[in-house]
Symmetry: D3
Subunit: 132 residues, 6 copies
């Protein structure tokens, strides 16, 4: 299921094909996953998203693997099935062990639990947490 066709290399426009090539080179694989093939209908969005994502997810103030874990956490909270799948695969490729995966899931689950307790009780923010 999808709301747009997934574009093959042949169907994609020249700017989209160039992004497909950049993805292949960066990842060292011929495979281009469905997200990019769906986004390829909007070549400007495809270019912008790939450029920003590949820059952000590389080395920086946070480790690339840590950023994949954060991505999984957000994707889980948003209920984005595709995103949970693709970023779990990416995290494994970057070194996530089964023990780290289990602890990630436990942390996401605990955060969802205490978020719900806080929201159900409507706990007011402590003054000392304010930085404004």
């Amino acid at each position: 299921m999808a709301t747009v066709p997934l574009l093959s290399d042949e169907e994609a426009g020249p700017r989209a094909r160039a992004v497909f090539e950049a993805i292949r080179e960066a990842r060292g694989t011929d495979y281009v996953n469905n997200f990019w093939r769906a986004l390829a209908h909007d070549e400007a969005a495809l270019e912008e998203t790939w450029a920003r994502l590949s820059r952000l997810m590389g080395p920086g103030a946070l480790d690339p693997l840590v950023k994949e874990l954060i991505y999984i956490a957000v994707s889980t909270a948003n209920g984005c099935s595709y995103c949970v799948h693709s970023h779990t695969a990416a995290a494994k490729a970057k070194g996530m062990t089964p023990e780290m995966h289990a602890e990630l899931v436990a942390t996401i689950a605990m955060a969802n639990q205490t978020n719900a307790q806080v929201t159900a009780l409507q706990v007011p923010v402590d003054d000392r947490f304010d930085e404004a």
Copy 2:
């Protein structure tokens, strides 16, 4: 605003007071934040939540600071204002620098963006992402 009164040390039951003391000892501060004072109406939940949270957020397969970043990511996606505030303070106390904070926010924001693109386009999960 809250849907239950925040219990002072005097108003809390004996089991709740014992948790308050454990929190003070673990954190090296006299301050007990509002979440625990709201949860203190349900002493069993207070005990269980504190025990599990303090065990989970300590050293493990993931670094304690990384787990705070994950907590902030989930809390942001869930729109839990109190939780974003309290875990941002906790992350700073565990060493989060302004540069790490900025990169965390950028990662959360990018994940929300691509989650939305995926969901709007209803991208089907690639077979290779399946582990079942």
Copy 3:
């Protein structure tokens, strides 16, 4: 804060004032809460919402108090602060005890936890759960 003014009885149109009177009569109080005063800019929506809500939340296949608990659960999951506050007040008025409130919060929290575990692990639905 609000994105529209809250209409007083004097500022509201005649159809809105009639709904305000119906609310007063149904609840046996002179107080009309802010939700209805904000919605009063759209008199048709105000009438429709009050009519449907008051019919739905009365006796039926489910007890009125149970329906308030369900309302709190949804409002918590959606992070609607106003709604959690107003329906917690309504549930108390219909007989929710502190013990019931604590168990409601624990159930909402547990559901958020296991929802997150399921979503992070992307558990496939068992065939036997399908009714289609």
Copy 4:
């Protein structure tokens, strides 16, 4: 998968069948989509939902196509796969071009990004935005 059987014309009750006929007439097609067949177990809800939806989504202060775009935006933010699919089909039927679709997706994605930045930073509402 579904939590209730989808009712065929033969299985549906008389009030549900009347709604099916109204849908067919309004849309000029014999096809009744799954949502209505699932909702048909609750004939009152089916009638009320169809009546309100068909009135709301027709001409008004906003163009019918604009309202479909809003529906897609909400459905995406809520992660409702069925709803994204059905309202994207409806928007196309009402004239949504590929360029409009791409710009809609870009707007939804950008809104999710800045929503996340705001929530992670807990930006306080400017006084001038208050209308209450």
Copy 5:
């Protein structure tokens, strides 16, 4: 699809197998559903989750069936497809009639509607709803 393999009895560790047996005994069936088989990679989480869930969902201040309805409400608001399916099956097993199911869905739907109205209008919480 899943991000971890579902463990059979043979593949699961001894602590996981013991939980599988407890599930079978509590439910009077040989069948262990996918959630537990996915969670079995983290035996501590599996034990803790089953222990807390089975205690919480039993008799208490709220009826077991009411707690299943609350679970369905939260799972729906979170868009957790698996959870909606599994808890709808559990609610039926505990006595939920088609009439109760229809009224549950109507209540969840109405709550989502009024939550959205409140949030779009940013209605401020009435002072009288505050318990802090």
Copy 6:
């Protein structure tokens, strides 16, 4: 409340100040709202966000006002209070009438209602909605 200080013109770095000036010029007002002052800690994110947002929200395949309505819809579904306030103000500045606002709220509310009905019933996507 905020998790970072809101930077004044004096406190902001040179790249942030340049964005503040661009905002002032584009809007014809001296006022820079809190979102940009909070984001100014990350000058690259500030520049990127302003550049992309101002380009996207201008004329295109969709009318600028329509894009503000979409922004309000997403912000409401995400429960982002700041975002609902700021984009409602922006929509009014671009010509949203009270009648359009009321119809927008009604559409968002109806979408949340039917999203919930679909999710609670787990309606399977009709084959004809698939474009992949």
